[in-house]
């Protein structure tokens, strides 16, 4: 009888141990999960998923010199790129093209010198309305 009682008690101990460990494994996962969720929920409380419409993030504050240097370097880079692109385009279109030069167009000239005959038959050369009439009475000989 004593042996049976002791065996039964040992059996009962084993069963309780098994049950105890079973309970431990079931409750430990839940406990860990709860802890991380709590932490995540805490972080989410600090950083909301969407900003209110009236709230805008301020721009990063840079010194004036840094801003100027950045702008200049940026603009220079853009211009250089554009120039390079333009040169390449021109070269591709007309590799032997000569840049046009501005030349002033020549003004049309009206000659004042005419030749004809006077009313009396003389042979004239010059502006018919010239203020001075110079008659040359000459012999070819």
């Amino acid at each position: 009888m004593t042996v049976d009682i002791i065996g039964a008690m040992n059996l009962i101990k084993r069963l309780l141990t098994v049950i105890f460990f079973f309970l431990l494994t079931a409750c430990g996962g839940e406990t860990a999960t709860s802890a991380s969720d709590h932490g995540r929920r805490s972080v989410q409380a600090v950083l909301p998923t969407s900003l209110p419409p009236t709230l805008t993030l301020p721009p990063p504050v840079l010194s004036e010199q840094v801003v100027a240097e950045t702008a200049v370097s940026t603009i220079a880079a853009v211009i250089e790129n554009e120039v390079v692109e333009e040169v390449e385009t021109v070269a591709a279109v007309s590799p032997t093209a000569v840049p046009p030069t501005l030349t002033a167009e020549p003004e049309p000239t009206v000659s004042l010198v005419q030749s004809g005959r006077t009313e009396e038959g003389g042979y004239f050369l010059g502006n018919p309305d010239a203020p001075i009439t110079f008659i040359d009475y000459s012999d070819f000989m």
């Binding site: 042979y123 010059g126 010239a130 009439t133 110079f134 040359d136 009475y137």
Partner: protein, 143 residues
């Protein structure tokens, strides 16, 4: 004239200040007549060519004394006029009539020698320097 005429053309005619009128004078017989006839027949075709032959005839005055018809025909053709049309004028009455009319008019104006210059009604007889003409032109232009 020719003489200082190129200077007058360059300094006054081309500026529109002076108009030159050539009026032929027949004072040396047939050489004068046929030289003037040649110039007239050229003028009837082309007035620009007239001033070309005007220059040629004055530059070759020495040759005109013994020049014949062929000489004048060749000279006319050299300034670009049509030979057939020129010969018709040279050999016909129209050219000579025109030449004589001009000669009569200069006599009516009292011009009997040459060269004689009329500058807006002021007469100058004999060859003159370019400076004198310049003075006369400038005086008239200023007034």
């Amino acid at each position: 004239m020719l003489g200082v005429e190129p200077e007058i053309v360059a300094n006054f005619v081309e500026l529109g200040q002076v108009k030159i009128v050539f009026w032929p004078v027949l004072n040396h017989g047939n050489p004068s007549l046929y030289s003037t006839l040649t110039a007239e027949c050229v003028a009837q075709q082309d007035m620009d060519a007239f001033w070309d032959i005007h220059t040629l005839l004055f530059e070759n005055q020495d040759e005109l004394w013994g020049a014949d018809r062929d000489y004048f025909v060749e000279t006319a053709v050299s300034v670009g006029v049509d030979q057939t049309q020129f010969e018709a004028c040279y050999d016909g009455p129209s050219g000579l009539d025109a030449v004589f009319i001009l000669d009569d008019l200069r006599r009516q104006r009292g011009v009997f020698s040459q060269p004689v210059f009329d500058i807006n009604g002021n007469l100058l007889a004999g060859l003159q320097s370019f400076e004198l003409f310049t003075t006369a032109f400038n005086s008239l232009l200023e007034n």
